[in-house]
């Protein structure tokens, strides 16, 4: 149903209704920004790259034939744009992180499980954990980081990730397994069994 609604909007844009593209932006901007941000760990770069991905989608929307779902097509543009940027700026990456929303149910639960410190100490601990987490993510290769981002953070299925990355499901699973092993080795002090 969602795919049908997307296709309807896309057809309108293709017919010349440029304003209809705003609905696409409004619907997908947070998810596209999230993918780019978790791959770059830099909010300014993420904003620029997400906008660039939307511009590219707008410029080439007449080539979208509707064979795949629109969000897969849009995510692929975002992933390719980000991967290209990361390859070009491999040596000058630095963090610019968003604040973790501790009011979200999952984050509160995890943080409470990790520490029983007071609020001030907990904020520092969460900040340190966030940096370690992003550092471990940036140590992954771009394909492994992309798989972890799409599966664990954005919640896409293996098939959808395979469509976005233009690879097989086996490759997605393999990359995910290997990436988790690496992350586990890096974040061992923060795990609780």
């Amino acid at each position: 149903m969602e795919a049908g609604a997307d296709l309807e909007i896309v057809r309108r844009v293709q017919a010349g209704d440029v304003a209809a593209f705003d609905r696409i932006v409004e619907k997908y901007r947070e998810r596209v920004f999230g993918i780019v941000y978790h791959m770059t760990s830099n909010r300014e770069d993420a904003a620029d790259l997400a906008q660039e991905a939307f511009i590219k989608a707008f410029q080439s929307i007449h080539r979208f034939g509707g064979q795949a779902s629109f969000f897969t097509w849009l995510y692929r543009i975002a992933v390719n744009t980000t991967s290209s940027h990361l390859r070009k700026s491999r040596l000058r990456s630095f963090f610019s992180l968003e604040q973790i929303d501790l009011d979200a149910p999952l984050s509160r639960e995890v943080v409470e499980a990790l520490t029983d410190k007071t609020d001030g100490e907990r904020d520092a601990y969460v900040r340190e954990l966030q940096e370690k987490l992003n550092d471990a993510m940036q140590k992954l290769s771009i394909p492994h980081r992309t798989v972890v981002t799409l599966f664990e953070i954005e919640g896409l299925s293996h098939q959808e990730i395979a469509d976005v990355m233009a690879c097989s499901i086996g490759t997605v699973r393999s990359r995910l397994h290997y990436a988790k092993q690496l992350l586990q080795a890096e974040l061992q002090p923060y795990l609780r069994r």
Partner: protein
Amino acid sequence: MKPESKRTVTIEDLVRLKRAERPAAEFWPEFDRQLRAKQLAALVGKPDWWRMVPVWFVGVARYAWPVGAATILAVSFVSMREFSSHEQAMPLDEALATSLDVSPMVSAVAAGLPSGFFSAGSGERKSGEREGAEMSAVVMAEALSLEPAMASLSGGSSSPVSDKASLASSAERSPVLGRLDGSLIKPPSVVEARNSGRLLATATGFEARAMPARPRVDPLQQMVSPSDRSRAKLLTAMVSMSPSEVSVRSAERVNHRISEDRLYDQIHRFGARGAGLNMKF
């Protein structure tokens, strides 16, 4: 010490903690404003064509090495072929062609030939088939007698100095070549044209094709000893004749039906050894 009641924290939990890294709500209006500005810019201005060049080659990126190697081979082959053809047939400079007036040369050649050289041929053609053939033989003999001089003109040697010397010696033997020498040696452009091997061919109706490359000769090998030079001079004085003498001799040979072998046999009877002169009977 952590309480035992707390839940386990896996790597998936830690990674999902990143979902909580979200921009504030006031971030999105600015994001939309920037995106709209970029969208309008994209609508107004088309990307430069050279920025699109990498996109054209995305499809052939996997064949980069074979395509690159094939391109290098093709360029090398074409350039080598062009270079060799350019070397074989170097175009004659227009300025050089206009600076050389070949008509005096041709008239000089015609003037050096015996009187009735051209008219006798037509006259003989009228008198009979047999005599016409004889006169054509005379013409051939005349052409043969001039051939060494022409060969020296059209590139007998590679260096201009030696060419000049050979021309001078040819001029001593023949008044025709003396006149040719005067008109040819003076301008350096003419020497260049002669080296290309095409100018005389064009001017005198010779076959207009590029001369094959001549092997380089060591200058020391070209030097002759004084005794050899005097012997050659003596032989030249004995053997060589002026064109008028040659024409008379040829006409005489035709009249007496002397074969060419017999004629040269007479010439070979003369010889020089050291400072002496031999004559065989």
